[in-house]
């Protein structure tokens, strides 16, 4: 038995897209074949290259079938997802089989290098390479297949065709031609028509057009034969294309007629083909011809659809519009099917968008007429679009509006924008609603729009905007414009409502709302509509609107002016009673504003002042100052100074103090010129009544109210003195403490502190007393440094303290008693002199203090101590010592005693000199002057006691 044809390449070549069922059957068969070939190959120990070749072919065939299926699966994936998947994973099985085919071929060629059918093997390898898109490799293998196979063999022919096809697809027609020619002359199989078709195209592409037409006709004739693949449709289409390309459309028509083909339909095909090749001019000609030959509406529709595409490509807008209009009329008649309608919509959308873009772009800016024409065309397309896509009508209207806007046709734009806005709102398309509104507003802001358009659209547009965007930046301006519009139209209520809306959304922008309110009030003012003004003033007063002070004042004044108009007349004419009556009625009236009331209260106080009625003046001034604003009080502060003074003059110190203090409180935070006076007066007047606590209240406020440091210091020291008088030591220390930092206050604190110290001492709280004494000396040092004048009483107190110390030294000096033996005597004598030195040096300190009383007392002490020591030495006689010794001793001592006595005298003279020179007048002076005569002291006695000074005010 002979095994027949092994080669199945025919199948491989002719494999095309199969239905799944058929493919599965083929795969089943191929799998069986592969299984059988494998078995056979094993059986014969791979000794037959034919079997290996068969195996390779089967792998290739299987791979191609599987790849078709894999391709289908891959293409069914959603495109978005497809980009993310690993493509190779979808082609694994086919790739495996391609690889197997390749491996088998390589194995075959290696094992049987002289295999006579190598051509087939190379063919498989070539095909394999082609599948892997390795075109150069495929070419190489096809060339080898051609070279190693018999020129008349089938595989040679097939290889030539495959290679020719590669060249064909690479547009290398000159290389494809000889291969096609060589293959086609060998055998006319069923695919001859297809290959001839390709060859004809090669001829055509290389300019051999007549040859191409001739071959096409030959292929056309053979296609009618059942033994050949019928390519008549393609051939006749392309043949006509050839004719058309050569400018022989009539010949194409003739060809179609000869072949009993529908001329219009065929020319439509030609037109499409010419379009696909970019031969638009020829396509236009062919399609126009096709339209003229069309004998039914559907055919015309098809041609029109193609024409639309053509004119879309060629950007021939007028022609496109003409055809679109024609299609649109079909649409209106209900002649378009779903696809046709979609196509029409596509074109309308595309062209309108394209035109709109041109209109909006810069290209035609310098060509306004062209631009306007394009805009008009675009708007026409949009008009069609409105009908074609009614559910998106607003969108088309919007685009039309935009186009009109771009060319400055604002009236038209406004109309479309308005409509687009309404439509988009209804459709809840916020985006378009937003942009339409923007366009509308922008258009309304343009110059040159008609009054009628403004009347029709301005207010409504603003309201649209505010409805959606009540509080954005743009709304801010729109409120104002709308307000103006309402005011211009006299729609006061709308204007009033708008002010409230504005206030709601721009609560911080008081200025603008104030302007609006002012306009409203002006509106009422012009009409002398008091009630509405009152309403608005009341709204302002209630805080419905925060307005500037100036404005508030203005408004208040406006109202006040209405109220005080008559009362002021009385006041100015001197009719104080009538004026008082008038002010009282204003004050009492429930209609009166607060301002009116406090104004009235103040005026009443003034009137009482003028009338000299202190009590009523005090009451109304207190009432007024409480009701008045700080600014008002400040404005009229002089009046309140006058009121206070008047009360003081009339011995109403407590009322005066109260008024001063209340006024101070009112003006506390202000830079009022009389603020210090109010404070000082209040403190002094309270102290004059002994009301330390009230004075303290005032004093405590001084810092907060920014009272000058001087006033505060003076007030503080006054309070301290009063506290000292009242022996309220703790409070005194509390108030005096902060004053310690004030160098000017410091000298005045020494006495009060000394008093406190003595008080502590008297109750046995020695340590506090000592601490205070120390503080006093520190304070003194500070005062000394600051060179501030120290009050005399303070200085005396300080000297007294110092003298106390000096007296302690004197005591110690006196306690050192001279006695023998000699060594002790010398030691004690030495101590005595040491104490004398100390006393002298301490005395110098007192001298430096400059207290007359101190100087005198100190000199007294110096004289006394020196004399005492001189006496003690002089009187000392060592006991139990021989006379000689005694004499010698006395003689030696006299050399000490003499200088001591001289020194004492010197001190006395200095003291006298000082007393005279510095006019020191103390009770101690006489002690210095008496000299050594103690029995006759000369004491200075003044003639009469001092006069008690009245601080005033105390009753």
């Amino acid at each position: 038995m002979k095994f027949k044809s092994l080669i199945i390449l025919f199948f491989i070549l002719s494999t095309s897209v199969f239905a799944d069922g058929r493919r599965d059957r083929l795969l089943r068969i191929i799998n069986e074949e592969l299984s059988e070939v494998s078995r056979l190959n094993k059986q014969i120990g791979s000794k037959k290259p034919d079997i290996l070749l068969r195996m390779a072919e089967l792998y290739l065939e299987k791979a191609r079938l599987i790849r078709e299926n894999e391709n289908q699966r891959y293409l069914q994936i959603d495109p978005a997802k497809r980009t993310r998947v690993k493509k190779s994973s979808y082609f694994q099985e086919s790739t495996k089989n391609f690889t197997n085919a390749q491996k088998t071929c390589y194995y075959l060629l290696k094992r049987f290098p002289r295999y006579k059918r190598r051509g087939y093997v190379y063919f498989v390898l070539a095909y394999n390479a082609k599948e892997f898109q390795q075109i150069n490799k495929a070419k190489k293998f096809f060339e080898k297949a051609i070279k190693t196979s018999s020129p008349k063999s089938d595989i040679n022919r097939k290889s030539k065709l495959a290679l020719a096809e590669i060249y064909f697809n690479m547009y290398r027609y000159n290389q494809a031609i000889p291969l096609y020619e060589g293959a086609l002359k060998l055998k006319k199989d069923k695919w001859w028509t297809k290959d001839a078709f390709n060859l004809a195209w090669c001829y055509f592409r290389t300019g051999k057009k007549y040859k191409a037409i001739k071959l096409m006709k030959q292929a056309n004739a053979l296609s009618a034969d059942r033994n050949y693949v019928d390519l008549r449709d393609s051939i006749q289409r392309d043949l006509a294309y050839f004719y058309a390309d050569m400018g022989k459309v009539d010949e194409a028509v003739g060809f179609y007629k000869n072949n009993d083909r529908n001329v219009s339909k065929s020319l439509l095909g030609v037109g499409k083909h010419l379009m696909s090749k970019g031969k638009n001019k020829e396509a236009d000609r062919a399609l126009t011809k096709a339209f003229s030959h069309a004998d039914n509406d559907q055919q015309k529709l098809k041609i029109d659809e193609t024409l639309l595409t053509l004119y879309e490509d060629t950007l021939d807008y007028p022609k496109h519009y003409k055809v679109t209009e024609r299609m649109f009329s079909y649409y209106k008649k209900g002649m378009l099917n779903k696809d046709q309608k979609e196509n029409l919509i596509y074109h309308v959308k595309k062209m309108s968008a394209s035109l709109q873009k041109q209109v909006a772009g810069k290209t035609y800016v310098r060509l306004p007429e062209v631009r306007k024409r394009k805009a008009a065309l675009a708007v026409s397309y949009f008009a069609m679009s409105e009908e074609l896509i009614p559910e998106k009508k607003y969108l088309s209207e919007f685009h039309a509006a935009e186009t009109n806007y771009a060319v400055g046709l604002f009236d038209q734009a406004i109309e479309k924008y308005d409509s687009a806005y309404k439509g988009s709102r209804a459709a809840n398309d916020k985006k378009i609603a937003g942009v339409a509104l923007n366009g509308l507003l922008a258009s309304l802001g343009k110059r040159g729009i008609s009054q009628q358009t403004k009347d029709n659209y301005l207010i409504s547009s603003f309201e649209y905007y505010l409805e959606v965007n009540p509080n954005d930046k743009r709304a801010y301006r729109i409120y104002q414009r709308l307000f103006t519009a309402y005011m211009e139209k006299g729609e006061i209520q709308n204007a009033e409502r708008l002010v409230y809306r504005f206030k709601k959304y721009f609560p911080k922008d008081h200025k603008k709302s104030e302007v609006m309110v002012a306009e409203i009030i002006d509106y009422y003012k012009e009409r002398k509509d008091k009630s509405n003004i009152k309403v608005w003033v009341s709204r302002i007063n209630k805080g419905d609107f925060r307005v500037s002070k100036k404005f508030a004042e203005k408004v208040q004044l406006l109202l006040l002016s209405l109220q005080f108009e008559n009362v002021q007349k009385f006041s100015s004419t001197g009719d104080k009673v009538q004026a008082l009556r008038g002010y009282h009625s204003i004050y009492k009236s429930s209609d009166s504003t607060k301002r009116a009331k406090r104004n009235a209260a103040y005026n009443i106080a003034i009137l009482y002042y003028e009338l000299g009625d202190a009590k009523n003046m005090y009451d109304w001034s207190i009432n007024a100052v409480k009701k008045m604003t700080v600014a008002e009080v400040q404005k009229f502060e002089n009046s309140f100074v006058l009121f206070g003074n008047e009360l003081f003059y009339q011995n109403q110190t407590d009322k005066s103090a109260n008024l001063n203090f209340i006024t101070l409180n009112k003006l506390c935070g202000r830079k009022a010129k009389n603020k210090n006076s109010f404070a000082k007066n209040a403190v002094v007047l309270y102290l004059s009544d002994g009301k330390v606590n009230e004075a303290l209240d005032v004093y405590k406020k001084m810092d907060k109210c920014g009272i000058s440091s001087k006033i505060k210091r003076e007030s503080g020291l006054d309070i301290v003195k009063e506290l000292m008088a009242q022996k309220r030591w703790d409070t005194l220390l509390k108030i005096a403490g902060p004053l310690e930092n004030d160098r000017k206050a410091l000298p005045h604190l020494i006495v009060p502190y000394y008093k406190v110290s003595r008080a502590y001492k008297s109750i046995g709280r020695e340590s506090r007393s000592v601490a205070l004494d120390k503080k006093i000396w520190d304070m003194y040092k500070n005062v000394e440094r600051s060179k501030e004048p120290l009050p005399l009483d303070a200085l005396d107190i300080l000297v007294e303290v110092k003298l106390n110390t000096l007296e302690k030294y004197e005591k110690r000096l006196n306690n050192v008693k001279l006695s023998f033996p000699e060594k002790r005597f010398n030691s004690r004598l030495k101590s005595k002199f040491k104490y004398l030195d100390d006393i002298v040096s301490k005395a110098l300190e007192i001298f430096r203090m400059g207290s007359g009383k101190g100087i005198v007392a100190t000199y007294q002490l110096l004289v006394r101590t020196h004399l005492n020591v001189a006496e003690e030495i002089s009187n000392f006689t060592p006991s139990g010592k021989p006379q000689g010794y005694i004499q010698s001793f006395k003689s030696q001592m006299s050399s000490l005693v003499g200088p001591l006595r001289q020194k004492a005298e010197q001190y006395r003279q200095e003291a006298i000199h000082k007393v005279y020179k510095e006019e020191i007048l103390t009770f101690e002076n006489y002690k210095l002057l008496k000299l050594y005569n103690e029995e006759l002291p000369l004491e200075f006695l003044p003639l009469k006691t001092g006069i008690l000074m009245d601080k005033g005010g105390r009753r």
Partner: protein
């Protein structure tokens, strides 16, 4: 030969006792001539006298070996006689050089056969040309051999003439040997082969129509008819009479023909279905074939590899099978069944049995020494004969396994062809599952053929005449 010589020398040293005359004379002569080969013709003559052919065979071979250009009619006759009785196979193993020393017609036949096997057809014809007298017992076989050679050499006319002469001579000698069943059967077989030889020659010449008639000349009771039936099937196949070919082949499914082992029957059946484009039937036959043989053939191959050239084992294997002992492998059983039914095997075993009967005769021989020596000699011959039978069994099995392999290959090709055609249909046309079968109008027959529609039963007189009526599904 050295072994034989040594034995002869021993015989000279022992005395002989009287038994049958021929054997005694042979022993005396050997003793007196001290085993000199030149006296072997007399010795052989004595053996022939006592019909002790196997006993004589070593001496004949020794003589042929020792002497060149033996041109003695007497010796030729002795050789003819002995070979005719023991069969040609023990002498076929001798080299052509040794055989060429004789001009005995039977030796000429053996030499022609040896050359035929070596495909030296002209040389073979040379040995046959006018060397075997018309009445020589080997003549019918020589004529068949000659016809076969002519046929191979595509000299069909000569072949047919030789076959026809063969038929005639065989028939003539059959009548002369009617009392010798073994001889008769050999001649009968030869006759039948020559009968079909004509058909075969016609077949080989492409005269299939003529071959059909010639095949029908072979009666169904012929021993070789079963195997010829297959050839008829082929002939029908070539005549594109596929339904008849299938009818012939289905006959092999008859239980009576279960001994026929010919895997090619299935191959032809598959091919026939394929030609009718009955793909499923074709694949079914192929798949069944693989199922039936593939694994088993591997086992048998392993079995053969295991036993190598242990001829005794193969002899015993066939013998025990013949005595009813079956192996576990049905394929091996089939092979053995076909072997034990094979005429060559039967001839060899019969010859072997005859050789064993000679031993009984020798046992009656009085001379212990002579008895011992002759027994030893005959045993050597018989052992050789046994090994020849074993080798034949082995060779037949191996040949069949090789055929089987070839057939596997063939089946694969058929299946691939079927699949290729099936695929072609899928590629080119839509497959139509419907098909009509068994219509008589698809049959072709000649005047000698009967039509028997096979209905799944086998009747002896219908065997070989079944005809299918399947419609070709080829498009």
């Amino acid at each position: 030969m050295t072994k034989l010589k040594r034995i002869i020398l021993l015989t000279s040293m022992v005395s002989m006792f009287s038994v049958s005359a021929g054997l005694n004379d042979a022993w005396d002569l050997l003793r007196t001539t001290k085993g000199d080969p030149k006296y072997y013709p007399q010795v052989i003559s004595n053996f022939i006298e006592d019909e002790m052919y196997f006993t004589a065979m070593p001496y004949v071979k020794e003589y042929l070996t020792r002497f060149k250009n033996i041109r003695s009619k007497k010796v030729d006759q002795q050789i003819d006689k002995i070979i005719t009785e023991v069969g040609v196979r023990p002498f076929e193993i001798l080299s052509s050089n040794i055989l060429d020393n004789s001009r005995a017609p039977i030796i000429m036949y053996i030499l022609a056969k040896k050359n035929f096997r070596k495909k030296r057809y002209k040389q073979a014809l040379k040995y046959l040309n006018e060397t075997i007298p018309a009445n020589h017992p080997a003549k019918p076989f020589a004529l068949m051999l000659e016809a076969s050679i002519f046929s191979i050499l595509e000299r069909q006319k000569s072949a047919i003439a030789s076959y026809q002469r063969c038929v005639k001579v065989s028939k003539s000698m059959m009548s002369d040997n009617s009392d010798n069943p073994s001889r008769y059967r050999q001649l009968s077989l030869n006759h039948d082969y020559c009968v079909v030889g004509v058909a075969r020659a016609q077949f080989a010449a492409g005269k299939f129509e003529g071959a059909v008639s010639s095949y029908l000349d072979l009666p169904k009771d012929s021993f070789i008819w079963p195997e010829i039936l297959f050839e008829e099937a082929w002939n029908s196949f070539y005549l594109r009479d596929y339904n008849r070919a299938l009818g012939k082949l289905v006959t092999y499914k008859a239980p009576i023909l279960n001994f026929v082992f010919n895997p090619e029957i299935d191959v032809l059946r598959a091919m026939t279905y394929m030609e009718l484009c009955l793909w499923d039937d074709t694949k079914k036959v192929i798949n069944e074939f693989y199922d039936k043989f593939q694994n088993k053939s591997l086992k048998v191959k392993n079995f053969m590899d295991k036993h190598g050239k242990d001829y005794k084992y193969y002899y015993l294997l066939a013998k025990s099978f013949k005595e009813g002992k079956m192996s576990g492998n049905s394929l091996l059983n089939s092979l053995l069944r076909s072997i034990v039914k094979d005429s060559s095997y039967i001839e060899m075993t019969e010859s072997f049995e005859r050789g064993k009967s000679e031993i009984e005769k020798i046992k009656q021989f009085s001379g212990n020494r002579a008895s011992s020596i002759f027994t030893k000699n005959i045993k050597d011959s018989l052992l050789m004969q046994r090994d020849l039978i074993g080798a034949y069994v082995r060779k037949t099995i191996n040949t069949n396994l090789r055929h089987l392999d070839k057939n596997f290959e063939g089946m694969s090709y058929i299946k691939l062809e079927v699949l290729a055609r099936e695929k072609s249909m899928v590629y080119n046309t839509e497959y139509n599952g419907f098909r009509s079968r068994g219509d008589i109008k698809h049959l072709k027959r000649n005047e000698k053929q009967y039509f028997w529609d096979f209905r799944g039963e086998f009747w002896a007189d219908e065997l070989g005449d079944y005809v299918f009526s399947l419609k070709s599904e080829c498009k």
